[in-house]
């Protein structure tokens, strides 16, 4: 190996390792800010007179196992009936999804069904666009078909829209099948870290909370102002979040808007889910990273944090690559100061980011939820970490391949596990 090649590898390794280190430090700082910072004011619900008209959109592709529960919940909402309607999109389903939706539509006049034909554009974003175009409400609320929204959730999600700067809101997602197996237990812990702590701190500090595409609401005029719904992206929610941010609008996280969801119960399903997120998220990274940094309508700290968050699905690839580089360096480098530093940092970051970076936020989340005992399962977090590590790397490779050969990445639906319909 030539000296120039070694120098390049060392420089690359040190730079990217430091980047990953910043992510790790951010996790720790966010944890401390959450734990010791003051929470916001009590989220007062708007009175009936102040409530806007909303359309709830439920995309469903082969969801016969779970759709009934979601629609049943949506028929029990605490919201004025004259300002509330539900649109179910039966997206080319091969099972009883369409029939179940039609049964509900026959019983509840505020619920209607859009049956998408077999030759319609595939994917959830395209299905959502059909529903958005078919409604007139100013506020659009989204739930996936496996979600079980509680009665007051829509009131809570629309409350922040009193502020005209708010373009979207996002609630908290809670897995209902946390005790199913080791994986679901770990995913439940990850959710605590991500929602209870990270989203909350981002909201509290005036940074950019993520609109997650479900258990969330969007202001139609804001959506139109930033160019409408992106049907090409695999992470249309992230795409919209960053377009709103760049346009000077804000996303509000509503911690009290809690909603049950179903977590993947097998590593294969989780792998495909994270891989899809990694492709979509990294696609957004390529498109919005620099635009985010120069979004002058937003505070500098918000821009920096938003850009850092865009890297979340890239870091696992950088970290693994760095470890591989450190392992590959010629043995004579191991005796030098530079070699030792590289190996030490790579090892720290691989251990820290791969297994323990989310741990601090999860611990704070468990304390906040009054469930410290849940924290006892944290040492097993490596189970989901390695699944995510593999999936993120596969996602990055897939995205690079698709970009290189001009291929459109296909949407991959998440399999459900609830008992048969």
């Amino acid at each position: 190996m030539t000296g120039a090649a070694v120098s390049f590898l060392v420089a690359w390794n040190v730079t990217t390792t430091l980047l990953a280190l910043i992510v790790l430090v951010r996790q720790v700082v966010v944890t401390l800010l959450f734990h010791f910072g003051r929470r916001g004011e009590i989220n007062r619900l708007p009175s009936d007179a102040d409530l806007p008209r909303v359309t709830v959109i439920v995309p469903a592709h082969n969801e016969e196992r779970v759709l009934h529960g979601c629609l049943d919940s949506l028929t029990k909402m605490d919201y004025p009936p004259d300002r509330y309607d539900v649109v179910v999109i039966n997206d080319r389903s091969r099972d009883r999804t369409g029939a179940i939706a039609d049964e509900f539509a026959a019983r509840f006049p505020f619920l209607r069904v859009i049956h998408r034909p077999d030759d319609a554009a595939p994917g959830k974003p395209a299905a959502l666009l059909d529903a958005i175009n078919g409604s007139t409400s100013e506020i659009l609320v989204f739930f996936d078909a496996d979600y079980l929204p509680p009665p007051q959730i829509i009131r809570r999600l629309v409350a922040p829209f009193r502020d005209p700067q708010i373009g979207a809101t996002m609630g908290r997602v809670v897995p209902y099948n946390a005790n199913a197996n080791m994986l679901t237990k770990m995913l439940d812990l990850e959710r605590r870290g991500g929602y209870v702590v990270d989203q909350e701190v981002r909201h509290r500090m005036g940074l950019l909370p993520q609109f997650g595409g479900t258990t969330g609401a969007v202001r139609r005029s804001a959506l139109e102002a930033v160019g409408g719904w992106n049907t090409i992206s695999l992470a249309e929610d992230t795409d919209l979040t960053y377009r709103l941010f760049i346009a000077g609008m804000r996303v509000a996280y509503v911690a009290s808007a809690e909603c049950y969801e179903e977590s993947p119960e097998t590593w294969q399903v989780r792998y495909r889910q994270v891989k899809r997120w990694a492709i979509g998220h990294n696609d957004c990274l390529l498109r919005y990273f620099f635009a985010t940094l120069v979004a002058t309508k937003q505070p500098l700290i918000a821009r920096l944090d938003a850009a850092l968050v865009l890297l979340i699905y890239t870091v696992p690839s950088l970290v693994l690559l760095n470890l591989v580089i450190a392992l590959s360096l010629p043995s004579y480098l191991g005796e030098t100061w530079a070699g030792l530093s590289i190996m030490s940092l790579s090892l720290t970051i691989f251990t820290g980011i791969g297994n323990f970076a989310p741990f601090y936020q999860i611990a704070a989340g468990c304390v906040s939820d009054g469930q410290r005992r849940a924290f006892a399962a944290v040492p097993f977090l490596f189970v989901s970490s390695f699944t995510s590590l593999l999936a993120c790397n596969a996602g990055v490779l897939q995205l690079l391949k698709d970009k290189l050969f001009g291929i459109t990445t296909q949407w991959d639906k998440t399999q459900r596990f609830r008992g048969s319909a």
Binding site: Y260, W267, S344, A364, R373, A374
Partner: protein, 271 residues
């Protein structure tokens, strides 16, 4: 006479191979046993969170004030305990490492003096290759198991390291300096993690004292782990065999403390 010597050498070689196989099996079984025991301990803990918003009262998120809530002792006591814990952890780790270094030297000298007529390269490769064989078996049998990605990543790393070693045999030879990043890495991670655990979980005087004791335990674990790495590296895998170091480091030293501390703290302190 010559025939007796040859037979004796073959006998010694046979015993050495058996010893290595036993060491590999014991190592793997201990890891699996620790994993299963910890999982049995925590699997019964119900972590499902009821939806507060579905109720008729306020929600968790409607609470005002900090998540830290009211503390029996103030934040300054927590920070003070954190600093004391960091000092105790570092002091115990450094002093115990120094003390164990003599023991390590004695162990290595005893091994060097033993009449082992076996190729040292073979000895150094035995543990990682044995580990790879176990991982290969698990890889085939655990296709649908939730641990499969973990197995796949480790298999990739061990195969990669073996390939790199084949191309660069120099990394098989001893190099004392290699232990520095392992020790430093674990020390930093332990101090940061222990400090955060203290800040998040420990509020009463009893819990803060417990945090300092736990810091001393962490220092001891770090020193012991570093010695094990040193002995294993010198006698079997070679100090630059980073896969081995990574395994022992991440899931041996830090992982051990991590399991003990998190399970202990979460089951001990009250909500």
């Amino acid at each position: 006479m010559g025939q007796d010597a040859t037979l004796s050498r073959i006998g010694v070689r046979g015993r050495s191979v058996v010893n290595i196989v036993i060491a590999v099996v014991v190592y793997e079984v201990l890891v699996a046993l620790a994993f299963v025991l910890c999982w049995q301990l925590v699997r019964g803990v119900d972590t499902r969170l009821p939806i507060a918003a579905a109720g008729d009262g306020g929600t968790r998120a409607d609470y005002v004030g900090s998540a830290a809530g009211s503390r029996s002792l103030g934040l300054h006591w927590q920070v003070f305990t954190f600093l004391v814990s960091a000092a105790v952890l570092s002091a115990v780790a450094l002093s115990t490492t120094g003390w164990l270094a003599d023991l390590r030297s004695a162990l290595i000298a005893a091994e060097a003096a033993a009449p082992v007529a076996i190729d040292p390269i073979f000895l150094r490769l035995a543990l990682p290759v044995g580990h790879m064989v176990v991982l290969l078996v698990l890889y085939q049998r655990f296709r649908t198991h939730v641990l499969f990605p973990t197995i796949a990543v480790h298999l990739f790393l061990v195969v990669f390291c073996l390939l790199v070693t084949a191309l660069d045999p120099a990394r098989m030879f001893p190099n004392r300096l290699t232990l520095v990043p392992i020790f430093t890495t674990n020390l930093v991670l332990l101090v940061v993690t222990h400090g955060l655990l203290t800040l998040l979980f420990c509020r009463t005087r009893r819990e803060l004292v417990g945090a300092v004791i736990l810091a001393a335990v962490a220092g001891g674990v770090l020193a012991l782990g570093t010695m094990v790495i040193a002995v294993v590296s010198t006698m079997t895998a070679g100090p630059l065999f980073f896969f081995q170091l990574y395994l022992v480091s991440a899931f041996g030293v830090f992982g051990l403390y991590f399991c003990v501390a998190s399970i202990f703290l979460s089951l001990w302190v009250r909500d």
